[in-house]
Symmetry: C2
Subunit: 252 residues, 2 copies
DNA sequence: CTGGATTGTTGATTTGGATCAATAAAAACT
DNA sequence: AGTTTTTATTGATCCAAATCAACAATCCAG
């Protein structure tokens, strides 16, 4: 079943986990945790009806967990692996609006809508926990507490978006990409995953679409960062060598 | 039909309301309305303690209603006039992250934070309604219902932000500015204000900061749009002549 | 394994928008 | 009123990133 056998010279040293994204985020590190806590984690044991919280659902690479225009019913937390969310407006080309890693939530932006405004697709073999928002009232848990949690995480989402807008539009390609790498790194670290060595599970084109750059530019800047010694880059694998330099580059 | 033209030469024909932004949005058209409804509008008459909802508070041009890092306690709805919100990160220059017009909410992004992540400043003589989130529990109203409303408006905020990011980073200066004008127009219309003739109460620099463009570029594109006949431009006053063209330009 | 499709890298050229700079026009103040 | 300060327009130049293009590496299906 295995053959980790990676690119580099000492392939057997390569943790299999990193390659196949089998690393699961701990529940305490997951964005859904405040809500799961209220639901008491184990549905069966706590009188919460089945189907309110579906745990550790596997998703194959390339599969979607929902598509743009699908009716909204659930938010998801990435348990392992990674996802991209994208939108497509009336014939215009598809654009990436975000990437999600273990512990992070997907579908939050649909919360006040009838349908999902974007498509969420697995970038690799992944797993998700699913919270049926439409069935929350049946859970028998105090709605007030649940809503308070939801308000929390929506608020965080808004703040993040605002920061993203205000930074992206004012930054050069080098700033955007340095910032992107740092952001990935810190997001992975925050959820208890290795933050200095990781795989860019998305394509250069995806990164470009997300950051508003041509894929060639992404490629060029990445190799430049590699040459400068700030990172080590081998194909999709990133090794952050000099976080300091990256921070300076991001700031400009 | 006749040529639309500005009434600048005949200043007395100028609707005073437009010039001095005395136009108030109707409560039914206000983003705070769902919450005000629960609070029954008139506090005194409904047993809601004073100070939960402060109505029609006047704000002078240039004044702030809150500053970045101030402790969070309230969200605001613009009743008349207009505002800009801006952020400043560690020494870097101040950036505009949004404009708010009558009926729109300010401070929503602070909902899950301890402090406001931005500063809100009046672009002209304005007025706001203030909702003390921290005193909501004292209102004696069902918290569930209030929270549900808050979730609604946070969700909308998230959606708007996402659209903004995904469009801005991929658009040319002309697309951004056409889109900006259309956005202003439709936002004003939605709240029952004139949407084809309005004042750009913010400076070119503010617009540029918001859209990620140099103020010179904003100026140039606006005059170009004026020459092409899509808009009529006189200083801060905008007259939308050809919405169709603007839409095409926005799409690219 | 082989051949084709996809994805990534690198080079050459073009261009949109930033930047620098000089006025012009309004506002704000005295 | 006139004077200063701020804000907007327009021009000239330069550069970062898009685009066009060729090629290399990798993945995948048969």
């Amino acid at each position: 079943m295995d053959k980790p056998r990676f690119s580099t010279h000492h392939s057997q040293c390569e943790p299999q986990a990193i390659r196949d994204a089998l690393v699961e985020v701990d529940c305490e590190d997951c964005g859904l945790d405040p809500i799961c806590m209220v639901l008491d984690y184990a549905e069966e044991a706590s009188g919460v009806p089945e189907g309110v919280l579906v745990r550790r659902h596997p998703v194959e690479r390339g599969e979607t967990i929902f598509r743009q225009e699908d009716p909204f019913h659930s938010i998801f937390a990435v348990k392992s692996g990674s996802f991209k969310t994208s939108v497509e407006y009336a014939g215009r080309s598809r654009q990436i609006i975000g990437f999600q890693f273990p512990g992070e939530l997907i579908g939050v932006e649909a919360m006040s809508q009838k349908t999902y405004p974007c498509t969420a697709r697995a970038l690799e073999r992944s797993s998700v926990c699913q919270l049926r928002i439409d069935r929350l009232p049946e859970s028998g848990r105090p709605l007030e507490t649940l809503q308070a949690s939801i308000i929390q995480l929506l608020g965080r989402e808004v703040t993040f978006s605002h920061q993203l807008v205000s930074s992206l539009v004012h930054q050069s390609a080098e700033q955007r990409i340095s910032g992107f790498l740092l952001s990935l790194s810190s997001r992975l670290t925050r959820r208890g995953m290795p933050g200095t060595e990781f795989i860019l599970t998305m394509s250069r084109t995806d990164i470009g679409s997300y950051l508003g750059l041509a894929s060639e530019t992404v490629s060029r800047v990445l190799t430049r960062l590699g040459r400068s010694g700030a990172i080590r880059l081998r194909r999709k694998r990133i090794l952050i060598l000099d976080r300091n330099t990256l921070e300076q580059l991001t700031a400009g």
